[in-house]
Symmetry: C2
Subunit: 327 residues, 2 copies
């Protein structure tokens, strides 16, 4: 089942409805559920109940895809971004440290960080150039939304808490992020401006044919800039399954309904990897006008254009010095 | 005004009410607002409206403090932890790198990370020893709750979005955190088990007499373990004001009502600083039975005992290797 959040042409700007997506490509239609239907609640519903609701929605006319605005499928109550692609860890360390080494700590557990939850963008929204960066980059990721609170869940129990999957672009200002990481912080403000998720939620039952022998989803992933493919990998290259990621995150902690967990960047899924390998800023950092398109097999396509920022940001406040300075 | 979230003895376990705290020390009483009153909504209300509501609440009998369970004053929609105490940055770098150096990037902006939003504990709740750590530590911090959505706010506009302040203990498993930081992530799972906030929200107008010449809140901060003081600083040692922190966070991003922003650890506000300075694990990492008490002038006291963890965590899943291994 594919479930989209949308507003129809003519709806008020803040409107938000949930609909069933039926059809292929440009012929797809979005069939609304009754007003007030909550995406996470629908994902958590008993399959029979959800199927009946979908049958009722499908009986209506629906809207052609071209006549709706797709919204972020969920507004996350928290976001955890993992680091599950060994090739990306090796590639990024090339960029940061000049050698493609994977620290032994990486193999021991599916580590993650908490990221900005309020910057989600819809699948075809424009993305404004953020302040302070000359190194705008993308990150191609697979993401899942949680539909039930879990704690100390085995991977088997975690499976039941995964409501569905979508494509994610974790937009990154590499220069801002680099300054934060020198302080022992993960990237924070360097990603706190846009995270694209969509185009809709695909429920796990739709994806069972893509499971590999280890139970991991094995989906082709590609990213292009202005129509030219610049990165590709398969989600089967992840070193942990989403069920294992949820299980680890839930050790001694709550993983809550409405959270989004993401795979981290796949191999070649970000320009910074190429910059690290070649030592040159080529392909160049994203510029105003660039269109970044990401596709994941079975999930769909997200596509965003970088546009000029029009906001006026206040000045950055510098530190008051409190310690005696060395001479 | 001091505003507490609480449930009274006899209330159902999930009950949550908001009350006005009146009185001093053990003679304090909590006077409930009408059921359904929302803490963040009350903080955002026009001062006249809030004052009238407080007058009505104060007219009732209220509950003696000893007869209520204080709850986390807010369940954050996101948490940002800053790094505003120069002395702590120098001290922590001593622990991590063996030299008390503050990177130049630190002075350029009030950097922060996103942290676990679902691990908040009430001011006197027990804290269960998390899995996988032999280096449990505390962090003494001052925190603020946001009561209005802001974006690209000047410090002046940010001031109006700060609903109030409270004490925060950012409990930290230093060994877990150390492994994450080797991967270029900030501390994430290493803090994803407990964050104490409380004892209640103190509104900014109550604290105006503590503003220093630069407009920063200058409050005495202390932390003790088992009754013995182990750290102390003043919030006037912060290198940025909360208004500046909100302003920076809001550059090109939403800072939303219900978010919590924290100062980061004050100087000597964590054992790891002493461990770094002396090279010895003394005072020792926290153990089951230890009581950590934190006090901030004008805000109150939080006090938590470390208790044995009783949960059974699932095994940690290790990585599937995907890259050719070096021989």
């Amino acid at each position: 089942m594919r479930l989209a959040a949308f507003r129809a042409v003519g709806d008020a700007v803040g409107a938000r409805r949930v609909g069933l997506v039926i059809g292929v490509g440009a012929d797809s239609r979005v069939h609304p559920f009754p007003r007030g239907t909550d995406m996470v609640g629908l994902l958590a519903a008993d399959p029979d109940v959800r199927d009946a609701a979908a049958d009722a929605a499908a009986a209506g006319d629906g809207h052609p895809l071209a006549e709706v605005v797709l919204l972020p499928p969920v507004y996350p109550v928290a976001m955890r971004d993992f680091l599950t692609f060994e090739a990306h860890v090796a590639g990024a360390s090339m960029a940061i440290q000049g050698a493609a080494t994977v620290p032994p700590e990486w193999y021991a557990a599916p580590s993650f960080l908490f990221m900005a939850p309020h910057a989600v963008h819809g699948p075809y929204d424009d993305v404004a150039m953020p302040p302070d960066t000359e190194r705008l980059d993308f990150e191609l990721e697979l993401a899942a939304v949680i539909c039930a609170d879990v704690r100390n869940a085995t991977p088997e129990r975690a499976a039941a808490a995964i409501g569905g999957y979508f494509v994610m672009n974790d937009w990154s200002a590499r220069d801002v992020q680099g300054r934060e990481m020198k302080l022992g912080l993960g990237p924070s403000k360097g990603k706190d401006f846009a995270t694209t998720i969509g185009p809709w939620v695909v429920t796990p039952d739709e994806l069972s044919r893509y499971r590999d022998g280890d139970g991991l989803l094995d989906l082709a992933m590609t990213v292009s800039v202005n129509g030219e493919q610049v990165g590709a990998d398969r989600s089967g290259s992840m070193s942990w399954s989403f069920e294992e990621m949820v299980s680890y995150a839930s050790r001694g902690s709550w993983v809550k309904a409405g959270e989004v967990l993401a795979s981290g960047t796949c191999g070649t899924g970000a320009l910074v990897e190429t910059w690290g390998r070649t030592g040159a800023l080529y392909p160049p950092p994203l510029r105003v006008g660039d269109v970044v398109e990401m596709a994941i097999e079975g999930l769909g396509v997200i596509r965003n254009q970088v546009v000029a920022g029009t906001e006026v940001a206040p000045p950055i406040p510098v530190a008051r010095r409190r310690l005696p300075q060395e001479v």
